[in-house]
Amino acid sequence: MERFYIDSPRSVSARIAAELEIAPATSHLLVGGVGSGKTTELLATQRRIARIPDIAALYVDVTRRHDIAKMTPGAILAQVGLALADQLQHLGPSAQVQAAHHVAHGAWKQSDQDYEGDQDAWEYVRRILVPPERVAADVHRARQVLDALLPRVRLKAPHVVVLLDGLDRIADLPAFEQLVIQDVKALSSLGVGVVLVGPLRALYGLDRVLVQRFDSLQIQPWIDVSRDAAGHDFLARVLTTRAGDAFDAPAIEPLVAGSGGVLRDLLSLAQSALVEAYMDGADRVGSHEVDDAVESFGRKHLQGLRPAELEVLQRVRTHGSFVQTSEDDLALLMTRRVLEYRTENQPRYAVHPTIEGLLQELSE
């Protein structure tokens, strides 16, 4: 996959890696819309850090082993503990590695307490998911495990950075704040650097105070292809690097324009256009195939909208005005029906290019 990675003009991974090289124990919040390439940048950060001799980087997708809706303080620490334990597995079994598994999954273990002379007393080590009143104890327990594991990891690299993916899916912002207050703080206190992918809604309204709990905020923006020549060129290069031979030159421009500067949508449109070419029996993708791909994408993108939301979209389409006042408005941003560009000082709003024509048809 690395051979397909192309640096974007304002590479977030380069900025984060540079900051971590100077201060390895700092915390960084990475925020961006769905499909903006946050995970790609997180993995690119990991690769960049791997080139720095004294920092070890661990990528952890916190949703892989745990339901994001049940995240409680300690859950991140428990998963970082498991990731560290995985790193040390090749050195053979150890009490610390075992403890990491016990904290995460729960286990019966022989008690450290002497219960009235009973030498065989056993106690259950609870899994980390617990009622709120147990939070402080859980964080402490999970932190202790990390404290024991880290010296072994640091024999190879004195600094450890964890790259936490998946927390952008959390819908409960107060729960996210608790994780930041408890787990990120605990990792920082252990001298562990953190790069955390967070929810986009943390950028809006009252939730914005959350951002201040990090040393830096990195926004992975959409690329304003109509006003950002370098960004436009970057997206065109993404296509030509991955499958340049498959696209006629006139097909590249409408694909880039149709993507709205959203990397994932660019790749989806390109893939659909390739399938259209296959169905047409064509050797290469031309503008006809791109038109079909854009229309299919747009029709899907209009699904599930209520009349009031369609009205907002028509306003954005005709006047470029968008004021986010409700959860439904925010959802239009989250789902990329409305795209917010920050290339220039003032934010600029536009509807996703694939729905622009369909919205016009609806208004006639």
């Binding site: 893939q271 296959y278 854009v294 747009g298 789902t335």
Partner: protein, 201 residues
């Protein structure tokens, strides 16, 4: 041509050909059909895929909820999975979205569902929706075809008997309509099946 739900209409065979072209990629797609057509849509799609690729490259699952979808996907290594998700509403899609890493599938995953369930997906599973890209199509709605066929048959019956629809209905009400099966069919096509066996006066 647009189909149910406003997405592009595509027969099962053509959609299967598209999906077969996407083999070797991690692709997420959706196939929409009205509730009354969904069973036929899934059956046709699975049969077409099996004919194009092979029997053991395609599996059909019908999870009751997201947890079972995750478990079903974890339990299969089959390349193309057609998931009947017609029972999924907002809560199921929300959970599937949160746990989307667990439904990441090395191959093609098709959500076969109704337009209403798909609208719930689009409202509640923003990440999953972004995975779908543009691979969302609708099974052709057979209702317009049926209407055309019905009209053609009525025209044939009018020509055969040299009578109008109104004359046939009037004769049935008067109890003077011949008992030939063509007249019975005519009444049914007009939506007057209740006149076939008029209650005795």
């Amino acid at each position: 041509m647009t189909g149910v739900g406003g997405v592009g209409e595509m027969p099962a065979g053509e959609f299967a050909l598209r999906l077969s072209a996407l083999r070797g990629t991690a692709t997420y797609a959706a196939y929409l059909a009205n509730a009354s057509d969904l069973e036929a849509a899934i059956t046709e799609l699975v049969e077409e895929l099996r004919a194009l690729i092979s029997d053991d490259a395609v599996v059909r699952i019908a999870p009751r909820g997201s947890e079972q979808l995750i478990a079903d996907l974890a339990a299969t290594s089959v390349e193309i999975v057609v998931a009947d998700t017609r029972t999924f509403a907002a809560p199921e899609w929300k959970l599937a979205d949160r746990r989307r890493s667990a439904i990441a599938h090395r191959g093609v995953l098709v959500f076969a569902t109704t337009p209403a369930s798909f609208a719930d997906l689009m409202r509640n599973a923003e990440n999953l929706a972004s995975w779908l890209g543009g691979e969302v199509f609708a099974y052709p709605d057979h209702a317009p075809v049926a209407a055309t066929q019905r009209e053609a048959r009525l025209a044939a019956l009018r020509a055969w008997a040299s009578q109008t629809d109104a004359e046939i209905v009037e004769a049935a009400r008067a109890g003077t309509l011949p008992r030939d099966p063509e007249y019975a069919e005519w009444l049914v096509l007009l939506g007057h099946g209740e006149l076939l066996d008029p209650a005795p006066p």
